[in-house]
Structure formats: C-alpha cells, structure tokens
C-alpha cells in the first residue's frame, strides 16, 4: 500500500467531479465536487444510500458517462474528454465491468458471453486467427470462477450466483487493469454473495487487480482496503473538513 501511494500518479482519479441530470427544465445534481484517487492494486469500495451518486461516480470512472465539471484521469492522463472511439477502446481494454443484474447477453452461451469483450476488440479475421488461444484463455478463466460445467449454457439456464461468476469471467477475459463492480452481490443471497466477494478479494490479492466496488452494504464494503462514503453527492465528512477516504 505504501509503495502504491508513493507512485507519481494514482492509477485512476476523479478530480472535482460534478454531475447533474436534467429532467425537462429541472436540474438534479447528483455529484457535487468529488475527488477520489484510486491506487494500483487497491480494492476501493464506494458506499452510500440510494441516490447518493455512487453508481454515477462508477459510471464516470468507467467512461460510460461524462462529468459536467471535473476530470477523470488514468495514470495522470485525462480520459473523460477523449473522442468516442478512444473511450470505447479504454472501456474494452482498461476496465472490466460487473453489474448487479449480471447483464449477460441472453442470446449467447456462457463461453460466448465470456469471449464477447475479445469479439468486440478484434475484427472477425483477427479473432478467427486467435480463436483457439482466446478459447483456451476463456476456459481457464471459466474454470477459475468454477463454471467449467456450464460453458454451453445460456444465462437463462444458470442461477444468479453462476451468472455473476460468468460476468466476472467476462470482465477478466480482456485482462483489464481496473475492475468496476456495481453492487456485485446486491442480487445474491448472503452465502453466494460471500463466494463472489472471496473471488474478488482473491483477484485483488493474487493478481493485483484494482477493484472499485459500489455497494450499499457496509459489511461487504468492509472487505475492501478503503471505503469512500457518499452522501448526497459529496464525500461524507467524518470529522475532517474534506476527508476523501476512511480507512477500511
């Protein structure tokens, strides 16, 4: 942790982020000046009540949305103002996404779902040239998440826990630098949720994968190195005037 903090730039930074949604003529502020730095191999949890802006912050980190004011920086480089195709590439190569409702593609089986980021990254010809290698990588990751017996199954034929593990496998296939998990256990029972958390913790510890996890469950958040707590679009002040983080 000390080593990572001594790096010249945090791996991912949100600097003075402001974001509001507009409904008709009404402006609903969601994030009101957020500064968060995430170091390499850090496991950061973002907690807060519903509507506190935690999912929005994660979407801004993952370039799914753009801030109204402020910057998102990757390794010290601003990335939120990049053109669309560059943002698409960063999403594909740098980030891995895990969603509360898994969001697997229902028409594809498990193996195809896991391979989908690679299908998106490469042209048909390039994909076919490396198909065998990709398939081996995918099978390895699927084995790691314990779903080897399910590779031909469609999402509709799997349980919630299996689908979330499949989603994790999909997020890992592209060898991302940062994993963005939006309530990864939110739709699972406690024991399955625990399995998923173990999987994420192992990935963070063994493969030094940076994880940013959004959750509203304090016990889940407690498993991260550090927790950022949001309240009405701001980092919650805990005794300090501008505390950016609380120790895990």
């Amino acid at each position: 942790m000390t080593e990572t903090l001594s790096m010249p730039h945090p791996q991912l930074s949100a600097i003075a982020i402001e974001k509001a949604y507009r409904k008709d003529k009404h402006k609903v502020p969601v994030l009101r000046g957020i500064d968060v730095d995430v170091q390499k191999a850090e496991f950061l949890s973002i907690v807060g009540q519903s509507g506190s802006g935690k999912s929005t912050l994660m979407h801004l980190f993952g370039l799914l949305d753009s801030p109204d004011i402020g910057e998102i920086q990757l390794e010290g480089q601003r990335i939120d103002d990049l053109p669309d195709h560059a943002r698409d590439q960063i999403r594909n190569r740098v980030f891995g996404f895990i969603f509360q409702f898994y969001h697997l593609l229902p028409e594809l089986n498990l193996l195809e779902n896991v391979l989908s980021p690679l299908m998106i990254r490469y042209s048909t010809w390039e994909y076919w040239k490396q198909k065998k290698k990709f398939r081996e990588d995918a099978l390895e990751i699927i084995e790691k998440v314990g779903l080897s017996h399910r590779i031909k199954h469609r999402p509709s034929e799997m349980s919630g826990g299996e689908m979330q593990r499949a989603a994790i496998a999909r997020a890992l296939i592209a060898k991302p630098q940062i994993l963005l998990a939006d309530e990864p256990t939110g739709n699972l029972d406690s024991s399955t949720g625990k399995e998923i958390m173990n999987l994420l913790t192992n990935l963070n510890e063994q493969e030094q994968l940076t994880i940013i996890m959004v959750t509203h469950d304090n016990s889940i958040a407690a498993q991260a190195h550090r927790t950022v707590r949001l309240l009405e679009g701001q980092i919650e002040v805990l005794g300090k005037s501008h505390a950016t983080s609380v120790p895990a």
């Binding site: 993952g62 969603f99 990254r121």
Partner: protein
C-alpha cells in the same frame, strides 16, 4: 465478430422478425411470378408475331398493291442485298370467310394473305404452324392423302345428293331438314329437305352471286343452284369434282374450331367444323377503283395454328397467284403485291435496313417497317402492363419494409439493456448500428431468398397450380378461350430475379437504418438502467 454472431442469434431467436418478412417473401415471389408470366407471354408473343411477319416488312400504301417491277427488285437488292436471308411477296387484304356447318353458314371477317409457301417458309417458320404438315417439310398447296380421301368421300356424297335432288324435286308440303345420310338403294324418291329461307338453302357449291331480289326464292328451287360454277362441281363435265379447287387456303385454327367445356369430364374440348379437304367461300374486293366485291371458293389444305389466338382466329393464307387473279392484280405481264416480307441475316440490323429501304424505295408507294413497329401497340401494351404491375408489386415490398421498420423498433427497445452492456464492454456506436443493419440485411436475404425459391417453384409448376386452383374453386383461372396461348407460358429472366431480390434486400436494409441509428444513439447508462 460480435456483430455477425449477435445478428445470427437474433435471426434464430426473434421469430417475430421473421414474421415481418413474410410479406417481403410474398412480394418477391409475386414479382417473380408476374414478371415471368408477363415475360413468357411477351416472349412467346414476339416469337409468334415475328414468325408470321418476318424482320422487315415493305408495304404498299394502297390495298391495290404495286407491281413488283425489276426496278423495285433491283432497288431492294442494291440497298440491302447482303443482309437478306429470305424474302417473300404477299398480298394482304381484308375478306369474309364463309364456312358451312350442317345447314348453317357462318361468316367471319378475316385477314386474307396471299402467299407463296416456299418463299414464305424462308422468312418464318410457317410449317411449324400448320397442323398437318411436318415441321421439316416445305409447305405447299397440295392436299395430303388423308385430306384427298376425305374430300373424295364427301364430294361423292354431295354429288349424289345433287343428282337426286335434281331428279326428284321436293314437294312443297314437306317440312324436314336436309339429311346427309348415306345413300340407300331405293327406288322411292328421297325425302326432300325444306328450308326456312333462301339464305339457309345456299349451297356450299354455289359460287355465282345471285342477282339482287332473288333471295326470296321459290322453296322448290334447287338449293344448290341451277348453274353451279366455281365449286367442286364447276366444269363437272371436264374435271373430277373430288379434285381440289384452284383456290387453296390454310385457315386459322380458331376460325373453324370452337372450344367448349365437356359437361361430363369438365375438360376443354375443341369442336372443329372444317377439315383439310373441305371447301370454304371467301369474299373480298378487287384491286382498282372503285373496289368491287368478288368471291371465290377455295379448298382447305391445312389448318394454321400458331397458338396465338389473335392470329389463329383472323388469318387465312391463300395461294398468291390465285388471289392476285381473283383480285385482278395481274396485268401487263406483272403481278401486283401489297407487301414484301424480308428476313435478315442479322435481325438486330432491322432499323438500319429499314432506313436503307426507305431511301431506296419511293415513299409515295411503299412504307417500310420492322415487325416490331407494325405490332407496336400490342407490344407496347404488354410492356406498359408489365411496368405498372411491377410498380404495384414493388409497393407490396415497400409495405413489408414498413413492417420491418416497426418490428425493428420493438426489437431495439427490447434490446436496450443489451446495447448498454455492449457499449460498456467497449462496442462502438457504429458497431451497434451495424448489428441492426446486418440484421436487416440478413432478414432481407432470408425474405428475398425464400421469395425467390417460392417464386421460381411457382413459375416451374404454374400450370399444375392453375389446374389445382381450378379444381378447388371449380372456376377456370386460365381460360384458353380468352388468352392467346393454350397454357401459361413463362420465361424467367435471371437479371429480373436478381434485381427483385436486391431491391427487397435494399428495402430491408433501408427499413432497419432508423432503428439501428436509434440503437446506436442509446446512452449506455440509460440503457443499463432500462427496465
């Protein structure tokens, strides 16, 4: 890669989209069927028209004709000598054809064409159209042995009838129809036929026109006429009445045959009232001013059947010299004709040949046309009909396009969250758009592909299908009595099939552009939150 994979999966799993292209399939199939039938109709008609007319026709401006002088022949030879593959001279004139069936006379307007069969065969496939002439034979004016035997039989019977009639005139009181029964050996006088009026009593052998006012004739008069002239019995002292008359004709099949539906079998049968060997009466006008009516009897040598009902029910071909003689077109050692039909070595040069001939021949006497010019209105009508049908049918496919548009919008809404996921995984907006565009293209491919197969199968078995529909509905779909051809003829033009299929696919892709653009513009966050 993901685009084609998802596109294929959508194709396999979204049956509602397949339902949307049924109308496209039907539209494509209908267009192929209609075009093939119209094309078949047009091709057959052109072949037959051309078979009868030849490539280029030189016509005289007057029905009186023009003598074919050496000058004219030389002019034609000089102008287009190298291009000529065959040439024939004809006389074409309107006429009335009268044929007798039982005791009734039937008269019909016809186009009488005097031809020389040998040269006529060099400009078109005349032998193919003659019922009793083999395709390879050169047609001539001689009766076939069968026709001769038939002629001998009926002339013998008729001669006997005339003799008996003359011998025993019928009593006034008797009111019986003429009976052509076999002669029986009896010393008793034959029952005399009685006729309601003179017109019914006219003899098929009565050639001489009667003076006006004689048609209310004495019913006891010999119905065959007192002075039988240019008939089977003309010069009966000198010639065998069973030998054919000097006038010989090929008669259009449709003029002397009548299709009817057999009430027992339900099939269309043909009832024929004239056979080769029979005599018919032809009335026309002489050349010269003013035209005078003239008529003559002629022996039917063969029946002309081009299977184009307009020709079969209007054309009568006659031996050229006899027609010229009857119309008074022979004089000063020269014979007049009304048209020269020319077959070209290269039919595609027809337009050039026409312009050369127009220069070579005096415009005051002759006009030169290609067969297409001559049949212009008919051919143009078919083309216009075909074009209108194509526009209407293409509208069906356009309507199918709107169906695809609506269903695609539904599918993009249904797939909103998946679109968000794909974007989160790094898919570009263009990538998302191309998923739906290729989906539209795939639907178009399937729709038009199935349409092409269905259409071609329909065309292949169209006559069987027509029979089946006729059997099911009990109503004839294709009535041979109405149309030009005995069965539905089709011609599949591969380029037409290609363009129809391409057109359908383009419509499918165009219809998917709007939904695809909408899908591409979905905001990833909103898409992921979409419930």
């Amino acid at each position: 890669m993901y685009k084609s994979l998802l596109c294929l999966r959508y194709l396999r799993t979204r049956y509602i989209a397949l339902a949307s292209i049924i109308s496209m399939t039907l539209g494509v199939a209908t267009m192929i069927v209609v075009n093939s039938v119209m094309d078949g109709f047009s091709t057959d008609m052109r072949t037959r028209l051309r078979g009868i007319l030849a490539d280029v026709i030189v016509e005289t401006n007057s029905l009186d004709g023009e003598p074919v002088t050496k000058d004219i022949k030389n002019s034609i030879q000089r102008a287009i000598g190298d291009d000529i593959a065959g040439m024939t001279e004809t006389v074409e004139i309107y006429a009335m054809l009268s044929v007798q069936y039982g005791s009734q006379w039937q008269s019909k307007p016809v186009t009488l064409i005097g031809i020389d069969p040998e040269t006529k065969a060099t400009v078109g496939p005349l032998a193919q159209y003659l019922e009793h002439t083999k395709d390879n034979d050169i047609p001539n004016w001689e009766l076939s042995p069968e026709a001769m035997a038939y002629r001998k039989e009926w002339t013998t019977r008729a001669q006997w009838m005339v003799e008996r009639w003359n011998h025993n005139p019928p009593p006034i009181e008797q009111n019986e129809q003429v009976s052509f029964e076999e002669p029986v050996e009896s010393s008793e006088p034959l029952p005399a036929p009685k006729f309601a009026n003179e017109s019914e009593t006219a003899s098929p052998f009565d050639q001489t026109p009667k003076p006006k006012g004689t048609h209310k004739a004495n019913p006891t008069a010999n119905p065959f006429g007192e002075d039988l002239k240019v008939s089977a019995f003309e010069e009966k002292e000198e010639r065998d009445p069973s030998s054919p008359l000097p006038g010989r004709v090929y008669i259009g099949y449709g003029l002397v045959s009548f299709p009817y539906e057999d009430p027992e079998t339900g099939k269309t049968e043909t009832f024929q009232i004239v056979k080769p060997g029979d005599d018919v009466k032809i009335s026309t006008v002489t050349a010269g001013q003013p035209p005078e009516p003239t008529h003559f009897n002629a022996t039917v040598v063969d029946l002309f059947k081009s299977n184009m009902s307009e020709h079969d029910s209007s054309l009568v071909f006659c031996n050229l010299e006899y027609l010229q003689e009857m119309r008074g077109m022979i004089g000063g050692g020269e014979k007049s004709i009304t048209s020269i039909q020319i077959k070209l070595k290269r039919p595609e040069d027809a337009a050039m040949v026409v312009s050369k001939l127009e220069e070579a021949l005096p415009a005051s006497k002759f006009r030169v046309r290609t067969w297409e010019d001559k049949q212009g209105p008919l051919l143009a009508a078919v083309e216009v009909e075909s074009a209108i049908l194509n526009v209407l049918l293409f509208l069906i496919i356009a309507v199918a396009g709107f169906g695809i548009l609506a269903i695609f919008f539904m599918i993009t809404i249904e797939k909103t969250r998946d679109i968000g996921v794909l974007k989160a995984l790094g898919a570009s907006s263009n990538g998302i758009m191309s998923i739906f565009l290729s989906y539209g293209l795939a639907l178009g491919l399937v729709g038009s592909g199935v349409g092409v197969i269905v259409g071609l199968l329909f065309v292949r078995y169209i006559n069987e299908i027509e029979k089946a529909i006729t059997w099911i509905t009990g109503r004839k779909v294709f009535d041979q009595r109405i149309y030009y051809f005995p069965e539905i003829s089709t011609h599949v033009n591969p380029m037409m099939v290609f363009w129809v299929a391409i057109g359908a696919m383009v419509i499918a892709v165009l219809a998917s552009i709007l939904p695809a653009r909408k899908a591409a513009r979905f905001h990833p966050v909103e898409s992921l939150r979409y419930e």
